[in-house]
């Protein structure tokens, strides 16, 4: 039963909720509350519209199946160390899937900008607008892990074998580092570019070239000299090569040499350092873009 007085109390302002000039609430608590709520929204969307996730699982599966079959009759050992192509390909598909998923991270944010939903977030007294970035990142990382898990299982089923637990942990770390950097890049673009058409165009021209200019589909030794140089500078290669090593070797340590470049061989910890440096570089690069919008 709605009485006149209860209407009054529901509609009247309550300054006690709004605090003073300075924050009297816990900034961290507020940040966690808003980040959690924004992340929850993305997962509700995923649950009700799962087609993106489905496509994100089917596509790498097709890569494994079709691309793997392309070189089935290549001589054994052609791709190095007594491998068949399916085994060679699996790490490439894992990294590429995580990479493309992360590259699309900016799209939902761009649509929020275009539909005006972002304004709803920007007029709210968020503890920090970086919660919008944090929520997207958590979402994409979770998605990538789901996809990676499925691909690892599918590759095992297709005969690529399965790394041990430590190996899987290291793979998770490497995937995480790639996803963090690329997600940040995509989110930065989502705030910098004028609209989704432009963002999709950038995704389109980045996606496949970065794949072909890495060691995902073929080893370095197959490539033209200049492409070897490009591939050795491509962050994706720094994720693919160690994962490939982990797939083939159960004995490894942090100092193990896991990757060859035209110049030198690189150890696991150096690879992780390179990926960390890539993440740091991207974060630095998008700072001005985010600050311009979030100031």
């Amino acid at each position: 039963m709605i009485t006149q007085s209860s209407i009054q109390s529901s509609l009247s302002p309550d300054p006690s909720l709004h605090g003073g000039l300075e924050d009297n609430s816990s900034a961290l608590g507020d940040f966690l509350q808003e980040t959690f709520a924004l992340t929850k929204r993305l997962f509700i969307q995923l649950q009700r519209r799962p087609s993106t996730l489905m496509a994100g699982i089917i596509q790498p599966f097709m890569w494994l199946l079709l691309f793997g079959a392309l070189f089935t009759n290549a001589p054994r050992g052609f791709f190095g160390e007594d491998l068949n192509y399916g085994q060679f390909l699996a790490p490439g598909v894992i990294v590429f899937t995580a990479f493309s998923g992360a590259l699309n991270a900016g799209l939902p944010v761009m649509f929020d900008r275009e539909f005006g939903f972002l304004n709803r977030l920007l007029v709210a007294p968020l503890a920090s607008r970086y919660s919008i970035v944090a929520a997207s990142t958590i979402y994409i990382v979770a998605l990538s892990f789901i996809q990676t898990g499925v691909i690892v299982a599918a590759s095992a089923f297709l005969g690529a074998g399965l790394p041990n637990i430590a190996g899987l942990g290291a793979i998770a770390l490497i995937v995480l580092l790639v996803v963090l950097g690329v997600t940040a890049l995509s989110l930065g673009l989502a705030f910098a570019l004028p609209g989704h058409i432009e963002l999709i165009a950038v995704i389109f021209v980045t996606n496949l070239p970065l794949l072909f200019a890495s060691t995902a589909l073929a080893p370095l030794s197959f490539m033209a000299g200049w492409l070897q140089v490009v591939a050795s500078l491509n962050p994706l290669t720094y994720a693919i090569e160690p994962i490939r090593y982990l797939y083939l070797h159960s004995e490894w340590g942090i100092g193990t040499l896991v990757m060859d470049t035209p110049w030198t061989s690189i150890s696991l910890w150096a690879v992780i350092l390179v990926l960390l440096a890539f993440d740091a570089l991207v974060l630095l690069a998008i700072q001005p873009l985010l600050r311009r919008r979030f100031a």
Binding site: S10, L11, H18, F115, L126
Partner: protein
Amino acid sequence: MANAVFIDNLHKSYGSITAVENISFQVQPGEIFGLLGPNGAGKTTTIRCLTTLAKPDRGTVEVCGISAVKNPRAARRRLGYVAQEVALDKVLTGRELLHLQAALYHLPSEGAKERIERLLELLNLTTYADRQTGTYSGGLRKRLDLAAGLLHQPEVLVLDEPTVGLDIESRFIVWDFLRQLKAAGTTVLITSHYLEEIDALADRLAIIDSGVVIDSGSPSQLKERVGGDRVTLQIKEFTPEEEAQQAKAMLSSLPFVQSVIVNPARGNSLNLIVKGESNYLTNIEESLAAASFPIFSMTQSRPSLDDVYLAATGRTLMDAEMAAAGRRDLKAEKKEEMK
């Protein structure tokens, strides 16, 4: 007591286009204040500066004495904002959207849950609360957006063109709700290019044209300031042009008639402004009879806000609307909004 909203000497331009040139007005706590003006006059830009979506180039913008530029977060807590185009996540249900909103305003979760149910009930949304907002009609969307804007019990609720695109019934629901809101002590700032809306709701208003405030006060003050009464006269249901002109010439010679306009859009009816004669209806009737003009209909009215607008700008709001529609670059505006 501090003004609920204090805007002084506000300037804002986008590139070479000056959207707001010099806008100043104050909103008192507890009143409904209207910003009236044609599309493109600078209302939305003013609102964007107030709600911290845009940074003013110059000038003061304060909410309850708090600078929206220097302390945007504190200002945001005191403001509720209902945008012109309701942006709801169409995959979320109404209730989910309100829970998201509550978290963005950091309401404690127990209090929020109860408050959400209260607002759903108040706005007659309970039946629809668990449906995805993509299925909502325009009126439902607006009501949900109102609930969202009020969730944190703001001191000032800002509504940009709250009833554009709504059917008549939804429009009255919104009006009625805003009056209840005022009665409960919430300050309301609305923009509108509908005269009737501002006239019906606002305690005070500012008329904005081309980025400048051209007049402000209460609706009755403004109308009184224009002065004179309006008489609409039809000689016949459809008066021939020539006859209307003859009547115009005759009526213009009467001492209390200030101006006569023939309106061809309404069968050459005559619009008169009269002043300084209390018995003008009888007087006009007698003069017409003496010159043997018939009378099909004759109505009198007090000046409307449209007359205020006309007096201040030399054109009616409708004309301004049409002119603005031709000048506007909607695509560029959309782009600005995304910045």
